[in-house]
C-alpha cells in the first residue's frame, strides 16, 4: 500500500516573522493522514505572486494534493488566486454568481459590499467554488492531471468546516479508507529514557506487522507521550491493530499510563474524584496557584474542588492551612513534615475528603544548602491515608512549577486507583 503525497502551503508574510507560526497545518495533517494522505512538504510563503506560484509549480511535479491556506481575502495583499492561476496557466474570470452570493451575504447583515470584495469573486477557469458559511472568502478546488489543488481561507474558523466538507465529498472517496491512524498514550511519573527502555522491546516488533505501527516518544512538561501511527488499508484494520498495541504498552508500563484517548491529567483525576464523590482542598506554595488552576480548567470542577490556598509566606501557611509555626522552624518551610501539615491542616479546616500540600523552591533564587532549586515536597491525604514525597525537579521557574503540578496530580491519581480495589 502506498499513500498519497500531499504538500501544504501556508500563505502570509506574517508567518515569516519571528512572531507567528503556521498552525493550520497540524489540523490539516491530522485530517489528511486519516484518509491516507502523507504530508511530505510544508511551506510558508510570503504574500507575493511570483514566489507563491514558484512553490506551487514545484509541488505540481510530485504531489497528489496541494492544500493552500490564506491569501483569499479582499485586499491587494491577498494573491493566492493570482498565483494559482499563474502556476496552472489559467485565466482568472469574475464569477458573477459568486458576486451575487457575496452581495447577498453583506445585505443580510445590513451592509453594502465594498469594491474590494469583488476580488474574492475571481476564479481560475475550471475551478469549483467551495462555500464558506463563516466568512466572505470562498474556497476553490482545481485539478491538474493527478493533482488536486485546494484553496482555503486562513482563519481556522473558516478553514476547518470548509476543509472537512472537501475531505468528505472529494478527498476521502479517492483513497478508499486506506490511511494513517494514530493513538497517543500519556505517561506520568517516569522519565523518557525509562519509558523507552520498557516500551522499545514492545513497539520494536510492530514495524514488521501486517498492519505496521511506528512509534515516536515525546517528552513534554512533566510527562512522556507515546505516539503510535498505524498504516492500514481501512480504519477497522487500523483500530484493531492499535487496540492491541495500546494494551501491550499498558501492560509493559503499568499504571504510569494515565490516558490513551487524549484526556489530560486534570481530566483523568477529575473523573476519578467525581465517580466517587470526593472533594479536594489544595494548599500550595511554590506552584503559586497553578495546581488549583489546572484542576479547575476542567468544566464542572467546582463539584470537587472546594478551595485552594496559596501560602507563600510562613505566616500564611500557619494562618491559612494551620501549619504550626514551630514545625516550620524545626524542619524549614520546604520539607515533608510541612507539606504534610499543609495537606492535613487545610483538609481539616475545609472539611474535604482530600488535602494536598505542595511546598518547594521554584527558583531561580532561593536555593538552600541541601535543598537546591527544584526541591519540592508534596503530600496527599485521603481519608486517613497519607503519602508524602520529595521531588528534585530541573529547569526554569515555570517548568519546575508545571512539573510539580503534574507530580501532585499523579500522586493523587495513584492513591485514588489504589483505594479503588
Amino acid at each position: 500500500m502506498t499513500s498519497f503525497a500531499a504538500c501544504l502551503v501556508a500563505v502570509g508574510s506574517e508567518m515569516l516573522t519571528p512572531f507567528r507560526v503556521d498552525t493550520n497545518s497540524l489540523l490539516i495533517t491530522e485530517r489528511l493522514n486519516a484518509i491516507g494522505f502523507d504530508v511530505r512538504l510544508k511551506a510558508v510563503v510570503a504574500d507575493h505572486v511570483d514566489e507563491l506560484a514558484r512553490v506551487i509549480e514545484g509541488a505540481l511535479a510530485w504531489a497528489h494534493l496541494i492544500v493552500i491556506t490564506g491569501g483569499l481575502g479582499p485586499t491587494d495583499d491577498d494573491l493566492t488566486r493570482e498565483a494559482v492561476a499563474r502556476a496552472l496557466g489559467l485565466p482568472l474570470y469574475r464569477d458573477e454568481a459568486l458576486v451575487e452570493h457575496l452581495r447577498a451575504r453583506f445585505a443580510r447583515r445590513g451592509l453594502v459590499m465594498s469594491e474590494n470584495n469583488l476580488r474574492q469573486a475571481l476564479v481560475p477557469r475550471g475551478a469549483i467554488v467551495l462555500d464558506n458559511p463563516h466568512g466572505t472568502a470562498p474556497g476553490l478546488w482545481l485539478e491538474r492531471g493527478r493533482t488536486a489543488i485546494v484553496l482555503l481561507p486562513g482563519p481556522p474558523r473558516e478553514m476547518t468546516p470548509m476543509f472537512d466538507a472537501a475531505i468528505r465529498d472529494r478527498l476521502a472517496p479517492r483513497t478508499g479508507g486506506a490511511g494513517l491512524y494514530r493513538r497517543v498514550l500519556k505517561v506520568v511519573g517516569r522519565g523518557e529514557a525509562d519509558v523507552d527502555a520498557h516500551a522499545q522491546p514492545v513497539y520494536g516488533r510492530w514495524t514488521s506487522q501486517s498492519v505496521p505501527i511506528s512509534t515516536t516518544i515525546l517528552a513534554v512538561l512533566g510527562q512522556v507521550e507515546l505516539h503510535l501511527t498505524a498504516e492500514a488499508a481501512s480504519r477497522e484494520l487500523a483500530e484493531r491493530a492499535l487496540d492491541a498495541a495500546v494494551s501491550e504498552l499498558q501492560e509493559a508500563l503499568g499504571p504510569a499510563v494515565y490516558s490513551t484517548d487524549g484526556r489530560p491529567l486534570e481530566v483523568v483525576v477529575g473523573e476519578l474524584l467525581r465517580a466517587r464523590s470526593l472533594t479536594v482542598a489544595v494548599a500550595e506554595s511554590c506552584t503559586g496557584g497553578l495546581l488549583a488552576s489546572r484542576l479547575t480548567d476542567v468544566p464542572g470542577s467546582s463539584a470537587y474542588v472546594d478551595r485552594a490556598v496559596v501560602c507563600y509566606s510562613n505566616k500564611a501557611k500557619t494562618e491559612l492551612a494551620g501549619v504550626p509555626a514551630a514545625l516550620i522552624q524545626e524542619h524549614g518551610a520546604v520539607s515533608e513534615p510541612v507539606a504534610l501539615a499543609m495537606a492535613e491542616g487545610l483538609c481539616a479546616l475545609a472539611g474535604t475528603d482530600i488535602g494536598i500540600g505542595v511546598t518547594g523552591i521554584a527558583g531561580p533564587g532561593g536555593g538552600l544548602p541541601g535543598k537546591p532549586v527544584g526541591t519540592v515536597a508534596i503530600a496527599v491525604v485521603l481519608q486517613g491515608t497519607a503519602r508524602v514525597r520529595t521531588f528534585q525537579l530541573y529547569g526554569a521557574r515555570e517548568i519546575v512549577k508545571a512539573q510539580a503540578v503534574q507530580a501532585a496530580m499523579n500522586m493523587l491519581r495513584l492513591m485514588l486507583l489504589k483505594t479503588d480495589g
Copy 2:
C-alpha cells in the same frame, strides 16, 4: 536598500505529523532579520534524500542564504549531509580530523564512539566544519555562487550557539548592519479594532519615511500587540526611528500601552509593587488560581504576593475571605458587592496593602439569567481606594480565565499608576 533573501529548511519527519511544529525558524528569523536577511520561504521536509535535495535545488535558484536545521545526527535517518551533497553535486568524504575530534569528545566522557557516529564526520567537499560545543553533530558551511548554505543541528541547545557564531563571523559582515529591526508594544484593556482605529493614523504615515516602519496588529489572549518593523541601513538609524515611533503610539494610545520592551503584564505589575514595597492578597473564584499563578510566575514575587485563596464554593468565600453569607444571598456569588467583599475581606485578614477579588462564570455551564457565561466581576482595593468593574468576556473556559486574569492585573496596574502622582 534591498535585503538579502533567505530560505529556512527544517528537516525531520516528526515535524510533518499533527504533533509537532518547527519552532527553530522563529529564533533564526529574528537573528537573520537583525542583520538584513529577509526570510522568503520556510519549508519542513521529511527525512528523505531526494525530497530534501529537491527543496535545496529549488532554493539555490533565488536565495542568498539557505539555513537547514536537523538531520545531522548519527542514525540512518539523518540524511541532510547526503542531500546537500547531491543538490550541489559534491562528493562526500570522511574528514579524519573530525573523526578524531568526535572520538576525543567521547573519550573525555569515558565513552567509546559507536560506528554510527562516523557518519557525522562525512563532509561535502569544500565545506567548512562548524564546531558544536554542545553535542556530537558538527555544523557545516558551504558556498555556491552568491548563495551561502548553513547546516545546523536540530536541538535548539546545539543550534543556537552555533548559529550565533555563524551570524557573527560569517553572515553579519556580508550585510554591513542593514536590516530589519523590531519593537513590540503591548496594550491591555482595549479591543483590537479600537486600538487599530487610534493607531492607524499614526503608523499609516511611517511606511513612506526615510526609515520605513511597517506595523502589524495581533490580538492575543486578553491583550493586543503592535509589532513595528523598521528597515534601515544600520542599527543606529533603526533604533532612532523606532524610538520616535513608539513615543507617537504611546501618545495616541495612552496608558493602555503597558510594555514596549517585551515585558509581560505580571512583570510590569510586579515592578510597580516592588518599587513601592506594597503587598497583595488575591481572592479568586472563576479564575481558579490562575491569577495567583501568573503573579507568582515572576522570580522574586514572594516579596509582594503574600497569599491567595481560591474560593469556588460560597462557604469558602465566607470562610477564607470573610464574605458575609447574607451578601452572597442578596446579590449572588457573581456580583460586584461580592467581588468587593472578597477583596476587602482577604486584604483585612492578610494585613496586606492590596486586595483583589475575582468572581465570575468561566463556563461552559453555569450561566444565569442576566449573567451569561463570561460575566466576571473584579474588585481591587488599595489602601482605602476601591475599584470594582464587571466584564463580559467571550470564549472557551480557559480563554475566559486568561482574559479575566489580564483584566484584574490591568485594573491593579492602572490604580498603581494613578496613585503614583
